[in-house]
């Protein structure tokens, strides 16, 4: 049976329909996907993302261990900073993408849903192989994670956070913050491409009360509860990878186009393989494709340049903001420069599309 969030009953009360994702039964939507999507782009949305994982890496060698595991160099991110990045195998393929928060006690790593055991096992392996002195603590099943996202996220959260001026917590910073008299890990991070926060509530018994407080605080901003449906459309409009889709079958950060988060100066697992791949220049690269005619590309659709098969869609859908089909696809070299006209085969029909640069929906571009 699928795992459930400790606030499952509250979701039911709020009208959620559920879906199974990575072994968890989580809200798919409440009032409707598009309304939830727009609430996050224009106001504020509340997500329960307790299916995500929480792993502490603490102790004397926590920083060298994180440096060895992660493609980002933790030296560049002192206490109070957070970083999106990934950890990879020796062959350069991504095990998972994640955010680490550099907290005063150590590094608080947030791997994806169902990845906690794999992450912990991998961290321990790297620690032991290098003789590092660090403890690795899995709190995934003891923590409720709430994401509060959207332009009104700060105004909403400032009403419940008691001891921190949130205007001083910048995007991708983290801190302890007091809510309802107790302190929890708070980061200004998210997976929607909007400003927002993620609150890590441990013990989980505190979560229902805090969730209700946030719901009340957000009322004046027409806060919507948001399910996994809109979570997916929100991240796709901002070209953010979904691990199960974009890294399926073994992809490196070079191929997935997330090497912007990589620091080449430090030594990390998989670096040699990635350098070699980068120099070879023959790799497939994840590119955003915007449909220029009717049709909605989906996971697994083939991408053509004339008659030549040049790629495959890993995530596709309709953009609620643009009302157009959008997709992320791995595309061969020579067919993926900005503006390149390609076609996606959607149920036997060719849908014209173009390679674009950057995010589908740029900042404050979601009109209507």
């Amino acid at each position: 049976m699928a795992l459930r969030s400790p606030i499952h009953e509250l979701h039911k009360e709020l009208g959620a329909g559920f879906t199974e994702f990575a072994g968890f039964e989580m809200p798919l939507q409440y009032k409707g996907l598009i309304a939830e999507h727009m609430a996050v782009r224009k106001g504020v949305g509340l997500f329960d993302v307790s299916h995500m994982s929480n792993v502490w890496v603490r102790g004397k060698d926590a920083e060298p261990l994180i440096s060895k595991i992660m493609i980002a160099d933790p030296k560049r991110f002192p206490v109070g900073k957070a970083r999106y990045n990934a950890f990879c195998r020796e062959d350069g393929t991504i095990i998972d993408d994640t955010i680490f928060l550099h907290m005063p006690e150590g590094f608080y790593v947030v791997p994806n849903a169902g990845m906690n055991e794999i992450a912990v096992e991998w961290f321990k392996k790297v620690r032991d192989e290098n003789g590092f002195d660090a403890e690795i603590i899995d709190e995934s099943r003891e923590t409720v994670i709430l994401a509060i996202q959207g332009p009104k996220a700060e105004a909403t959260m400032q009403k419940v956070v008691e001891d921190l001026d949130l205007s001083t917590l910048k995007f991708f910073e983290c801190s302890w913050a007091k809510v309802n008299g107790k302190r929890y890990v708070l980061s200004r991070t998210g997976y929607t491409g909007e400003d927002g926060f993620e609150l890590h509530i441990k013990p989980m018994a505190d979560a229902e009360k805090i969730t209700r407080m946030i719901l009340k605080a957000g009322e004046e901003f027409d806060l919507h509860c948001v399910g996994l449906g809109a979570r997916d459309s929100l991240r796709l409009e901002k070209n953010l990878c979904l691990a199960g889709n974009e890294f399926e079958g073994g992809r490196s950060p070079v191929e997935a186009g997330i090497n912007w988060t990589m620091d080449w100066e430090h030594d990390f697992v998989g670096k040699a393989a990635m350098l070699k791949q980068k120099e070879g220049n023959a790799y497939e690269l994840l590119r955003p494709l915007l449909c220029t005619d009717k049709g909605i590309p989906r996971h697994g659709c083939e991408v053509y340049d004339g008659e030549e098969l040049v790629g495959k869609v890993t995530s596709g859908g309709m953009s609620p903001c643009m009302k157009k089909g959008i997709a992320l696809a791995y595309v061969k070299p020579g067919h993926r420069e900005e503006g390149r006209a390609l076609e996606i085969e959607v149920r036997g029909k060719r849908v014209p599309c173009a390679v674009i640069k950057g995010q589908f929906v740029k900042k404050s571009e979601c009109a209507n």
Partner: protein, 127 residues
């Protein structure tokens, strides 16, 4: 999804289509449960009126932001009408799955095929 509506007087398939029989004709749509699983419908493809369909044939495609679902007819016959209003207002499938969200109307060729469908009570059990 415990809160999905199941209408009495309709017939159902295990794949979450409904039929509303009126004499020799039957309207076909997707159930409240199906529209909730799909999320907001944004695009659909329907057949042309006059098309002859066999039991189990695809008679449409309903696409939401999140996913795509083929619609199959559990009865054979001729398509006598399609709900063209949905082209401009596909959200009617979410808002009114049993009324305004109907997809096609079929003139039945063999009414005995209806015997294989579920009534409301039987459909409710599989949700």
């Amino acid at each position: 999804m415990a809160d999905s509506e199941v209408r009495k007087g309709y017939l159902y398939t295990k794949s979450h289509e409904w039929l509303k029989v009126d004499g020799k004709k039957a309207k076909l749509g997707i159930t409240d449960h199906a529209q909730k699983l799909l999320t907001d419908v944004v695009f659909l493809e329907l057949p042309d009126a006059g098309a002859v369909v066999g039991k189990g044939d695809e008679v449409g495609v309903v696409e939401s932001v999140k996913s795509v679902s083929e619609i199959y007819t559990p009865i054979s016959g001729k398509i006598t009408a399609v709900n063209s209003e949905l082209e401009d207002a596909p959200e009617k499938i979410n808002e009114s799955p049993y009324e305004e969200g109907w997809l096609v109307e079929i003139e039945m060729k063999d009414e005995s095929e209806l015997g294989e469908l579920l009534d409301a009570a039987a459909y409710e059990k599989i949700l």
